[in-house]
């Protein structure tokens, strides 16, 4: 997949609406760009899914990816990916691991871990 793919024309723009069955786009805080997503264990109801949802489940079946990565790999706008994910989460087919909630780790701890990680990797 190349970065730089894109160029939807006005005809393509109708498609996302069709894919999402006209649902309202979820607000960003439900699926943030770095919310981590994977398939739920025992997820089986794939037969009657449309190609976009099937592709999404297939992609997510290998492990955790961020919402942004899913959008990048699938090649659909973030807003559309959010609708699909929220749909699949609602039917129990995917699960999320939210970006670090403030209650669990402070920024201070995260920054220290980021610094340690960067220094180990590039130092």
């Amino acid at each position: 997949m190349r970065a730089g793919d894109g160029g939807h024309d006005s005809v393509d723009l109708v498609r996302p609406y069709v894919i999402t069955n006209g649902q309202d786009l979820p607000k960003g805080d439900e699926f943030e760009l770095v919310t981590l997503v994977t398939v739920a264990a025992g997820n089986a109801r794939q037969a009657q899914l449309d190609p976009e949802r099937r592709a999404l489940l297939e992609l997510c079946s290998g492990g955790y990816l961020s919402v942004a990565e899913i959008a990048g790999h699938i090649g659909l706008p973030i807003g559309v990916i959010r609708v699909l994910l929220s749909d699949l989460a609602g039917s129990g087919q995917i699960i999320t691991r939210n970006p670090v909630p403030a209650a669990q780790l402070t920024d201070i701890q995260v920054l220290q871990e980021v610094l340690d990680g960067l220094q180990t990797r590039f130092g």
Binding site: S10, G63, E69, V110, D116, L118, Q119
Partner: protein
């Protein structure tokens, strides 16, 4: 679409991953954002798009969109798995004020930003600086020199950009891994001083 993805372990995060942190790489047109992200990322940089009306509103409802002029905006990003439990994402987008939704998404929960500048085009950095500041994102300046550009002393840049006395200024070549990592590390150290 890439059907090999599901079988390529390197695409996925470690099972134990708990924390996804986010740092922004921002700057004006062609200042080196994508290069910087690509230099440090462990995955080929990806790109996402949002559908916008030309006026800048996010298209929440695409009914009747035909005939309306729309455009898509790219946001580049890369990934660095820094431990079994921590992954860092680097997001980059140009500083166009009208792409409000992109900036809201990008800045939500971001630790900070590296703002890349070209000393020969300083005035082009002001809109991006305004945007970063308006979202309250702490930032460091990464100075990219292009071509045979003469270097400029930090205090001169600080004055020209009207920076706070403690805002770090780091020279970096976005094409070089060590140099780019050094700029990121300087940013993180600065962010630490602000939270302690």
């Amino acid at each position: 679409m890439d059907s090999r993805l599901a079988s390529d372990d390197h695409t996925y995060l470690p099972e134990a991953v708990q924390v996804a942190a986010k740092i922004l790489v921002v700057g004006h047109f062609a200042v080196g954002k994508t290069t910087f992200i690509g230099t440090l990322s462990e995955i080929p940089p990806l790109r996402t798009e949002e559908t916008m009306t030309r006026a800048g509103a996010h298209v929440d409802d695409l009914r009747g969109v035909q005939g309306k002029t729309t455009t898509t905006v790219a946001m580049d990003f890369g990934r660095l798995t820094l431990s079994e439990t921590l992954v860092l994402y680097l997001f980059g987008t140009p500083g166009q004020q009208r792409f409000v939704q992109v900036w809201e998404d990008m800045t939500r929960g971001a630790l900070g930003a590296l703002l890349l500048i070209d000393p020969q085009r300083l005035e082009e950095s002001f809109p991006v600086m305004d945007l970063v500041e308006s979202y309250g994102i702490p930032y460091a300046i990464g100075v990219n020199y292009f071509g045979e550009a003469p270097t400029r002393p930090d205090d001169e840049l600080r004055e020209a950009l009207d920076l706070l006395p403690d805002t770090p200024i780091v020279t970096c070549d976005a094409r070089d891994e060590k140099s780019s990592a050094g700029a990121l590390i300087a940013l993180v150290k600065y962010l630490q001083t602000r939270t302690s």
